[in-house]
């Protein structure tokens, strides 16, 4: 079973601060996705990274896939209360099997 470790598990910051969430594994993933989940809702896809070393930007969010395709990071610049939620990384390794990390709960206070 391939595992994805996310850190930190919980992050509480003030509006305007920057933060980075990490997703690490000892296994190689063919692609990696980041989802955000809000209370009472299902996860919503933010980005998919496929190539080792790839960097993708989505407004204030920057996603990076490690060169060896075993790790990824999500950096948020100038966090806002609307960024509050559970951030999940998930990796594809086999036949449509998506393995999720345990998530990082982000709370951004005004």
């Amino acid at each position: 079973t391939q595992l994805l470790e996310q850190s930190p598990q919980f992050l509480s910051i003030q509006e305007g601060e920057n933060l980075t969430v990490y997703c690490n594994s000892s296994s190689v993933f063919s692609s990696l996705q980041w989802y955000r989940q809000e209370p009472g809702e299902g996860p919503v896809l933010l980005v998919t990274v496929v190539t080792g070393g790839e960097v993708k930007k989505l407004k204030r969010l920057t996603f990076q896939f490690g060169d060896a395709r075993k790790d990824s990071s999500l950096h948020i610049t100038a966090a806002q209360p609307g960024d509050t939620g559970l951030y999940l990384c998930a990796g594809y390794s086999g036949y449509s099997t998506l393995t999720f990390g345990k998530g990082t709960m982000l709370l951004v206070s005004p």
């Binding site: 809702e41 299902g42 998919t48 594809y92 036949y95 449509s96 998506l98 393995t99 999720f100 709960m105």
Partner: protein, 114 residues
Amino acid sequence: DTAVSQTPKYLVTQMGNDKSIKCEQNLGHDTMYWYKQDSKKFLKIMFSYNNKELIINETVPNRFSPKSPDKAHLNLHINSLELGDSAVYFCASSLGTGLGQPQHFGDGTRLSIL
């Protein structure tokens, strides 16, 4: 205009009962999934169907039986409910089984066993 819809949203029932959760997607996707999210928010795949055929069964007890009458629907029936079945169950769909496909999730069914 909900893409992936699940019913019911909440399900409270006694241990030992049998219950079903329904899922429908209007995205025209070929692949559908059931996930279980535990109290610590860990999301784990249970089943995956592609064009009504079972392709993934992740060592789920046989009290759980998925059924796909057509590729737009994937229902989950649970027999003899146990306390440990309490969780949020999510249905999801994707265009196909290709690696890297985005998955679209429903809003979940919160199952509470008394």
